[in-house]
Subunit: 204 residues, 2 copies
DNA sequence: GTCTATAGGTCGATAGAC
DNA sequence: GTCTATCGACCTATAGAC
């Protein structure tokens, strides 16, 4: 395994793929998912565009690999810390908070990944990759939730529903923040999503 | 104003734009937002691709017009009925319910529109159109909420936060349902989003 | 590196509308 | 006749595949 940047020491396919995916991420973050092409990725990596096709077989395969790796990475970072062993409401609020913190730490990357996912969903060749992504997402939520249950020594009457609700809340929260970038309201919005609209102060 | 379909009776620009936008919607729904091109739209409408460019000035202008018209139409239908004058929690649950009903009535169209919005957000030429769309969305929520307040004779301590939370919940709900198509859980997930995670049944 | 397909944009000419 | 909508052809850039 060599680390030199500019030389081209006949990397193995695996390494080469890794390097090209890194380049693809850079292109995507800086110029948008629409700018992804064999050529733009190759240029970024400093190789002949032919090589990208060789390494992945097709553009669709490149995008599928990119989607897979990036969504997994993101999910791993986002849900890395277990839910605090408090009430479900508090635990969910904490999870939403750390999720949004992750989004805010690199909004561009998250936004572009969402764009790529939307792209993939509309493509016959990539729709499976998109499905796999969201399935993995739900699985990761499920694991955290089961851990929380174990810590508290309880069971949830409808685990699947809670997973779905967390999924929806997290996704909507990210979408809301990305479109408004309203930092001032973050805490309160999370509070309403986790605690429900019944707790909102209403004045006569 | 002629109504014949196949002849080309020299439509005015306004009519022509309308017709072309209809064709663009068909292309988008059937083949995805990525398939939108001057040529695909023109072919669908049965005119020379040159004409699309002529009518809109550029592809970006076409997409902006499409985004504008479609998102406005959708929002108008979704938030047509006022919130029921009950507690906020019940009102929000009802709103989420009718919102999702709308999504479920034509999932493809909603999905494609979301795709187009994601596309637009990554494009310098279209980012303003995307912003305008979400601003209009929030405005429509605000109007319904103010009506609800007036009906109940109350005020909300933090109107903006509630708007944001509804925005996030609705968006996340749609996203969740579109990826899972899980009809069986819809009611319960809406219940959790509107009522909060504090109300979820936890068993020892 | 080359081939081919596609896409956005433009030019000149034509044909309907007034 | 003039104006505008319309068309077919063409140019150039780009992108995927081999």
């Amino acid at each position: 395994m060599k680390e030199e940047a500019q030389s081209r020491p006949y990397l193995g396919v695996t390494e080469r793929r890794r390097q090209l995916l890194d380049a693809a991420v850079e292109v995507m973050v800086e110029e948008g998912a629409g700018a992804l092409s064999l050529r733009s990725v190759a240029q970024r990596a400093g190789v002949a565009h032919r090589l990208v096709n060789y390494a992945f077989g097709s553009k669709a395969a490149l995008v599928a690999a990119l989607l897979d790796r990036e969504s997994e990475r993101l999910a791993a970072r986002v849900w890395a810390e277990p839910l605090p062993a408090e009430t479900l409401e508090v635990a969910v609020a904490a999870a939403l908070g750390s999720f949004l913190a992750e989004v805010r730490s690199d909004p561009r990357r998250f936004e572009r990944l969402a764009e790529l996912t939307a792209l993939a969903r509309a493509s016959d060749a990539l729709v499976d990759a998109a499905r796999a992504e969201s399935a993995a997402y739900r699985l990761m939520i499920a694991e955290r939730l089961e851990l929380w249950c174990a810590q508290r020594g309880v069971r949830l009457a409808s685990l699947q529903v809670v997973i779905s609700a967390i999924h929806a809340a997290a996704d909507g929260l990210a979408e809301w923040w990305l479109t408004t970038r309203d930092d001032a309201q973050v805490e309160e919005v999370i509070g309403v999503l986790a605690g429900g609209f019944g707790g909102v102060r209403v004045m006569q």
